[in-house]
């Protein structure tokens, strides 16, 4: 890639994504730099980088959010480009601007695109105005006199929310428009009671919604392609847990439509670099939710089905190169699933867990993007995501089977993870049939519980522990051979 205008890339991130970006950077023959806080001194990202630059801050997270410091360090190190990864500064328009002003290439969209999509109301209006589907809604304040009429036009089912509300208080679902007027009266009085403000807002309610998003890629020359969709409906408290592509919930027509809508939105926004358009989908309808102007955690799913290296594509278009291929050249084959391995205890309301990484062995033949390394330590300082397991199969059934085997074969000892919970999700009949929605985990609290160990499992676990503990082995070995051979004999 000699046409790139930079010879080095600094990764302004940590964990698995820093490792993943550095992998491509180095594969392209570029120099890989990474910034790190002292808490990450022994992290795999630091080990993977050609140059690691320490950054400081009142907390480890604050250090990674300190754009000015990072730009200064990048300049001092002569970095040609900065890749922000996801999270931290990745959707910070000010940072993107500061990077550019420092004469460094920002691997991502323009600050304007970040700003547009970062403002949820502006983004929604932008999309709606250009004729793309957004959830029908009505805001009382726009014209209080016509509110009931406009609300009726939203169609059933719909959701009435207090404008001043939050946390679900005062929300009412209306499935039959005949009672809409009565419900509006009640919602208004509840809003008044809870928040001292009776103004309302109505939007289409999607029953058992699915979260489907589309990967898009644009260059600086106005070319935009989509890289197909990802389904991310398996979530817990808005945190994605399992992502896959293609979505098992879309018909081929719907799939084409949703992908083209996404590409259209990106094109309308003059979007460059990698981005993701998120939709809410239910009952054959889909509505624009938001656009993420960065590389997503779940991008490997797309890489697996399209065969593209998204980071390489990002670097290429960031360097000013045209995409060089059209939509027809992008194909999706087989089925890919990503599972997020979290340091958390599903049986204790998903409380975060910590501990030493005593043994870490990843399954053979499967992509695992890891932010941990054997000998390291999982702390509470950062996000609890430890690694991503990505599998690719000829079809969904094969992919699920591979995913389950990969989780079973992945060994992480020293810190509790959600691996067993993920395996229970994979085995869930609704997941297996593809009949899922974002409330699936909340709807099935039993999935969070470890099934009780049977006697055989218990015996084997205790045997493994007993044989591994010096104290216990020494106690057994101390018995003279003669007496040991007699066992528990009594006269």
């Amino acid at each position: 890639m000699s046409e790139l205008p930079f010879r080095s890339v600094l990764v302004a991130n940590r964990g698995e994504i820093a490792v993943r970006i550095l992998r491509t950077v180095k594969a392209l023959g570029l120099q890989g730099l990474v910034v790190y806080h002292a808490a990450d001194r022994d992290s795999p990202a630091v080990r993977a980088a050609d140059i690691a630059i320490e950054i400081t801050g009142p907390t480890p997270v604050a250090a990674y959010l300190d754009g000015a410091q990072i730009v200064a360090k990048a300049r001092a190190a002569g970095a040609g480009a900065i890749h922000p990864g996801y999270g931290f500064l990745s959707e910070n328009a000010g940072f993107a601007r500061a990077v550019a002003e420092a004469g460094i290439v920002f691997v991502g969209p323009t600050p304007e695109a970040i700003e547009l999509m970062g403002d949820k109301v502006r983004a929604r209006n932008f999309v709606a105005e250009r004729g793309f589907p957004v959830a029908p809604s009505a805001i009382e304040d726009d014209d209080p006199a016509s509110f009931n009429e406009r609300a009726r036009a939203v169609g059933a089912p719909l959701l009435i929310k207090p404008s001043a509300g939050g946390g679900g208080k005062g929300m009412r679902i209306v499935r039959d428009l005949a009672i809409l007027d009565d419900e509006i009266v009640r919602a208004r009085s509840e809003g008044q009671r809870y928040f001292g403000d009776g103004r309302l807002y109505v939007e289409r309610y999607v029953e058992r919604p699915r979260h489907i998003e589309v990967q898009v890629l644009g260059d600086a020359h106005g070319n935009v392609v989509h890289l197909f969709e990802r389904e991310c409906s398996i979530q817990r408290r808005f945190q994605k847990i399992i992502e896959e592509s293609p979505s098992p919930g879309l018909t081929p027509d719907e799939r084409t439509r949703i992908c083209e809508v996404a590409a259209g939105i990106a094109r309308a926004a003059g979007y460059r670099n990698a981005g993701t358009v998120e939709f809410i989908y239910g009952a054959g309808e889909f509505y624009f939710l938001e656009m993420n102007t960065r590389l997503q955690v779940e991008h490997p799913v797309t890489e697996e089905v399209t065969g593209l290296d998204l980071v390489a594509e990002q670097l290429r278009v960031a360097g000013g190169a045209p995409l060089g291929y059209g939509q027809e050249a992008v194909t999706s084959s087989g089925h890919a699933i990503e599972l997020r391995l979290y340091a958390e205890d599903s049986t204790r309301d998903f409380a975060p867990t910590t501990g030493p990484v005593l043994i870490y062995r990843t399954p053979a033949g499967v992509r695992v993007d890891s932010g941990i390394v054997e000998g390291g330590r999982v702390t509470a300082a950062f996000d609890p995501m430890l690694a991503k397991v990505i599998v690719h199969g000829a079809d969904r059934v094969e992919a699920i089977a591979k995913a389950d085997k990969a989780l079973a074969d992945l060994v992480l000892l020293g810190c509790r993870t959600n691996a067993a919970f993920l395996r229970r999700l994979l085995a869930d009949p609704d997941f297996a049939s593809g009949d899922m929605h974002t409330g699936l985990i909340a709807e099935k609290p039993a999935l969070a519980e470890d099934p009780p160990l049977d006697e055989d499992q218990m015996t084997r676990l205790l045997a493994a522990a007993a044989l591994s503990l010096r104290t216990m082995r020494d106690a057994a070995d101390a018995v003279p051979r003669l007496h040991a051979a007699m066992g528990g004999w009594r006269n």
């Binding site: 998903f350 005593l358 084997r460 522990a465 007993a466 104290t471 057994a476 018995v479 066992g487």
Partner: protein, 161 residues
């Protein structure tokens, strides 16, 4: 006499002995010939592949595609605690997090169930309660400080003597 091993919150009385053939695991009235050869665990002749890591009194076992944590407790510590010994004086963190309130200070009298410290973990607020009536000896963390699981948050004055 038995060793104590906890799996999750369940405590098991376990003993390992030897006979002429090898090790024998004792669980209650049951006994099983057991052996561990590298990554092969044998219980009553049946083999399972395992990966095991020991960290002090903690044993981590990956078996049947899942990881488990077991915690060893010496009989002395177990029986001392069982007899209402010093364990109740120590109030430990149920999960890692940070402190958001410290309603008591050293010297305060508290009743069982009183809140000793309020912690936040993953946006969840948890009030840590006094396990018994007593007097606070130390509060080991200030508001804003973070800690890991099992950190000693508050100590109650010993009732011994």
């Amino acid at each position: 006499m038995q060793h104590m091993i906890a799996i999750e919150d369940a405590l098991h009385r376990v003993w390992l002995s030897r006979d002429a053939q090898g090790y024998v695991l004792h669980l209650g009235a049951q006994q099983w010939p057991v052996a561990l050869d590298g990554t092969a665990l044998r219980v009553a002749g049946a083999a399972s592949p395992v990966t095991i890591a020991v960290d002090g009194d903690r044993v981590y076992v990956h078996i049947d595609g899942a990881a488990h944590e077991l915690v060893y407790q010496s009989p002395i510590a177990f029986h001392a605690a069982e007899a209402g010994g010093p364990a109740e004086d120590m109030v430990r963190a149920p999960m890692p997090g940070s402190v958001i309130a410290t309603p008591v200070t050293a010297g305060d009298s508290v009743a069982a169930g009183d809140t000793l410290i309020v912690i936040e973990s993953m946006k969840l607020e948890t009030a840590v309660k006094a396990p018994r009536d007593g007097v606070v000896e130390t509060v080991n963390f200030a508001v804003g400080q973070s800690f890991e699981r099992d950190a000693l948050l508050v100590t109650l004055a010993s009732q011994e003597g």
